[in-house]
Amino acid sequence: MSNEPVLNDSQRALLPALLDTIVPASAEREMPSAAEVDFDAYLATQGQGAVPMLQAVLESLGPGFADLSADERHARLSELQSQQIALFSSLLACVYDCYYQDPSVRVKIGMVRGPVFPQGNEVAQGDLSLLDPVIENADAHRYRAPR
C-alpha cells in the first residue's frame, strides 16, 4: 500500500470543474478543456508531487464549487489568485503542464505529438541573400583593429 497522498472522493468530484475553469474548451479553436485530458494519469505519474497543493486548493474552494456557474467559478478562482498567489501559480503550472503535454493538444498548437526527441523539427534555412546589404556595406561594419 503506497503512502503517497491521493485525492479523496469529494476532492476528486470537484476536479473537473476546477480544470474546466482554468482551461475551458474552445469550439472555435477546436481545443479541449483541461477536464478532457487525462489528468488522472498525470497525477499518478509526473504530478504526484502536486497532490498536496491540489488538496489545499480544492479544500479552500469548498464542495459547492462544482455547482457554481462558469462565471461564478471564475470569480471564486480569481479570489484565490488574489489571496494566495504562490498557491495559485503552482496550480496553474500543474494544470498547464498536464494540458500542454496532451498529444492532441500538442498537435493542435503545431508541436510534435510526444517528446520532441527523436522526431525533431523542420526549420527552414532562411534567405541568406538577406545578408547582401550587410556585405555591401561591410566597410561601415568593419571590426575595430587595435593600434
Binding site: T21, I22, V23, P24, S26, R29, M31, Q46, A70, H74, L77, S89, L92, A93, Y96, D97, Y100, Q101, R106, I109, G110, M111, G114, P115, V116, F117, P118, Q119, G120, N121, E122, V123, A124, Q125, G126, D127, L128, L130, L131, P133, V134, I135, N137, A138, D139, H141, R142, Y143, R144, A145, P146, R147
Partner: protein
C-alpha cells in the same frame, strides 16, 4: 597516503579542462582529471520526455541552488545582483549552455589602449587565432565566413538554419541599415565526425538528447580518454597542497562516498570556472599562502565579471515557428559592439537573437505578464503568443572592478563540508547605461521587424553563465594572478585555464575564448616542458 603521482592533474572536466586534457595528451604524460560531477547519460535529458519544460524548471534547472544535485555545490548569491548558473559534471556548463559561440573581438584584448579603461590582456586576438580555429574544428562549429566584424575566419560547418525568426529579425536589421550575421554555433548543422546533425529540438539549454550540441563530454573527452587521459568522476577537490619547496604537489579530494583522498601530481591545472577556481585556491591556505594559494597579489577571487544581460521580446502577427530550432543560436548583431563616446558609456554589446519558448513557458510567462489569462480567453491569447515571439538577448561587456568578488562563505558548506562560494557583485553605472541603450535599440529592431507588441527587461538576475576575471592574467605579479601563459606567478607548477584568467570580459559569450585560451596554455606548457618551472 597514495604514492600515485600524475604528471598532470586537471581539476574540472568542463569547457577548459576538456580542451587542455586533450591537447596535453599527445605528450604521453600521465594525465588525471578529477571531476566532482558524473557523466550525463543523453537518454536522461528532458527532451526524451513530453514534460521537458517542467524538468528544465526543476531537476535540470540552470541554477545549482534550485537543481540541488548531490554533485552540485551551493552558491550564496544574496549579496549579488546577478545569480550564478552552471552545471557540474563531465562537460561542465557546456552540458546546459545555449552553444552561441562567438569569439572575443580583437579590440576586447586592448581596452586600456583603445578606451582608457581596465587593462589590456598580455596576449591578443592574433595569438589566439590558431587556437580559436582548432577549437572550432574540435567542437564542431557551424557558421558562415565573411562577417566583417571579425578578422577572416571559416567555421567548419554551414550555419544553423535561421528559420522564420532569423529572417524576420534580419529584415528589421536591414531596414535600419545595421549589422547582423548568422551566429557561430557550437551545434553541428551536418553530420560531423561520429556525430549526427542537430534535429532542431529547441531546448538546448536542458541538454541535447541528439548530441548535435557540442558539449565537451561528446567532443573533447572521448578523444582525450582515447589518448590515455584518466577522467575520474565524483571527486570533489577541497584544496591544492604544497611541498616544502613551495610547489604544488597534488590535491586533497573527497570521493563519491565522502572518503578523503589524496592525488599527487607534478603539475596542477585549475579548470573549475571563474567561481570554482578561486573557491579552491582561497580554501588552499598554508603558512606560505595564508590568504589562499597563489594569492600574493590579493587578487584571487577579485574582479569577478559576468556579462550584463537583458532581453527584448517582440510578438508578431505572423507565425514564426519560434519553439523550433536551437533557442540561443540564430543570428546576432554587432552594430553596437565597439565604443562610441557619444553613447555615454564605453565598450558595447552583442545582440543575440533568441527563439521562443515551449507551451508551458509561454502560458506561465503570459500569466505573469498578463498577456495570457487563464479561463475564458486563454486559447485566443495563447495562440497570439505561442510560436509568434522572437527575442533579442543583450549581452554587454562587464568591466573588472575589485569590489566584485568570490569569497568563501563563513557558514554555508557543500555536502563534503567545503566552504561554499559567496558572491558579492554590483553592476557598474557603465553596465547599466550600456544595458539601457541595448534595450532601447532592441526595441527599435523589433518595431522595424514588424512586432505588434514589444517589451524589454534587464539586467536579468539569473544570468550568471559567464564567470570571469577572478585569477586574472598579466605580466606584473602585483596586479595579476597568472602570467601570459596561465602559470601562477607564485607557484610555478600551478596553472589556471578557465575564465578566471580573463582580464576583461568582452561583450560576447565566453566559451569559445575560454577554450582557445586553454589550448593556447596547453601549447605553451608543451613548448616549455624543459624549462617549465624556471
Amino acid at each position: 597516503m597514495s604514492d600515485d603521482v600524475a604528471d598532470v592533474l586537471i581539476i574540472g572536466a568542463g569547457a577548459s579542462g576538456a580542451a587542455v586534457a586533450w591537447s596535453l595528451a599527445e605528450t604521453r604524460m600521465r594525465i588525471v582529471c578529477l571531476e566532482q560531477g558524473d557523466w550525463v547519460n543523453p537518454s536522461a535529458y528532458p527532451t526524451n520526455s513530453a514534460n521537458w519544460e517542467t524538468q528544465a524548471f526543476g531537476p535540470w534547472n540552470i541554477d545549482p541552488n534550485v537543481r540541488g544535485l548531490e554533485t552540485d555545490y551551493p552558491i550564496n548569491n544574496d549579496d549579488s545582483e546577478c545569480a550564478v548558473v552552471n552545471f557540474n559534471g563531465v562537460g561542465g556548463s557546456t552540458v546546459l549552455y545555449g552553444a552561441h559561440f562567438p569569439r572575443l573581438h580583437p579590440s576586447d584584448f586592448k581596452v586600456k589602449s583603445l578606451d582608457g579603461v581596465a587593462d589590456d590582456w598580455p596576449i591578443d586576438y592574433a595569438t589566439l587565432e590558431p587556437y580559436f580555429a582548432e577549437n572550432d574544428r574540435m567542437m564542431g562549429v557551424s557558421g558562415i565566413a565573411g562577417d566583417p566584424m571579425y578578422p577572416p575566419k571559416d567555421p567548419p560547418l554551414p550555419p544553423i538554419a535561421m528559420g522564420l525568426v532569423g529572417e524576420t529579425l534580419a529584415r528589421g536589421y536591414n531596414k535600419l541599415g545595421w549589422h547582423w550575421w548568422p551566429s557561430d554555433s557550437a551545434i553541428i548543422s551536418e553530420p560531423y565526425e561520429d556525430r549526427d546533425r542537430c534535429l532542431y529540438l529547441g531546448p538546448c539549454m536542458s541538454g541535447c538528447s541528439q548530441g548535435g550540441k557540442s558539449s565537451t563530454d561528446i567532443t573533447y573527452w572521448p578523444k582525450a580518454v582515447q589518448r590515455g587521459v584518466e577522467l575520474r568522476t565524483r571527486c570533489r577537490v577541497r584544496e591544492v597542497t604544497l611541498d616544502e619547496r613551495g610547489l604544488a604537489d597534488g590535491v586533497v579530494y573527497y570521493d563519491e562516498n565522502g572518503n578523503e583522498c589524496r592525488q599527487r601530481a607534478e603539475i596542477v591545472i585549475m579548470a573549475c570556472n571563474g567561481v570554482g577556481t578561486p573557491r579552491i585556491l582561497l580554501n588552499s591556505k598554508s603558512s606560505r599562502f595564508p590568504d589562499g594559494l597563489a594569492n600574493r597579489s590579493g587578487l584571487v577571487g577579485k574582479n569577478l565579471m559576468f556579462h550584463v544581460f537583458g532581453y527584448v521580446q517582440g510578438v508578431f502577427a505572423e507565425r514564426l515557428d519560434s519553439h523550433k530550432g536551437p533557442v540561443a543560436c540564430c543570428i546576432l548583431s554587432k552594430q553596437f559592439y565597439e565604443t562610441d563616446a557619444a553613447r555615454g558609456f564605453v565598450r558595447g554589446y552583442n545582440m543575440q537573437i533568441v527563439r521562443g519558448s515551449g507551451p508551458l513557458g509561454t502560458a506561465m510567462a503570459g500569466f505573469a505578464s498578463g498577456a495570457v489569462p487563464w479561463g475564458k480567453g486563454h486559447h485566443e491569447a495563447f495562440a497570439k503568443q505561442f510560436d509568434h515571439t522572437a527575442a533579442i538577448g543583450i549581452v554587454g561587456e562587464d568591466l573588472p572592478e575589485e569590489h566584485n568578488t568570490v569569497t568563501l562563505d563563513p557558514e554555508l558548506v557543500d555536502s563534503d563540508g567545503i566552504p561554499a562560494p559567496k558572491i558579492t557583485y554590483k553592476y557598474s553605472e557603465n553596465s547599466l547605461k550600456l544595458m539601457q541603450h541595448g534595450l532601447e535599440r532592441g526595441e527599435e529592431v523589433m518595431r522595424a521587424a514588424g512586432a505588434a507588441d514589444v517589451m524589454s527587461a534587464g539586467p536579468v538576475r539569473p544570468s550568471g553563465w559567464h564567470l570571469m576575471g577572478t585569477a586574472r592574467m598579466g605580466d606584473d605579479p602585483a596586479t595579476s594572478v597568472v602570467n601570459r601563459w596561465g602559470r601562477s606567478h607564485d607557484v610555478k607548477n600551478l596553472f589556471v585555464v578557465d575564465g578566471s584568467i580573463f582580464v576583461t570580459s568582452g561583450g560576447v559569450n565566453c566559451a569559445s575564448t575560454i577554450q582557445a585560451c586553454a589550448l593556447y596554455i596547453a601549447d605553451s606548457i608543451k613548448k616549455n616542458l624543459t624549462n617549465l618551472f624556471d
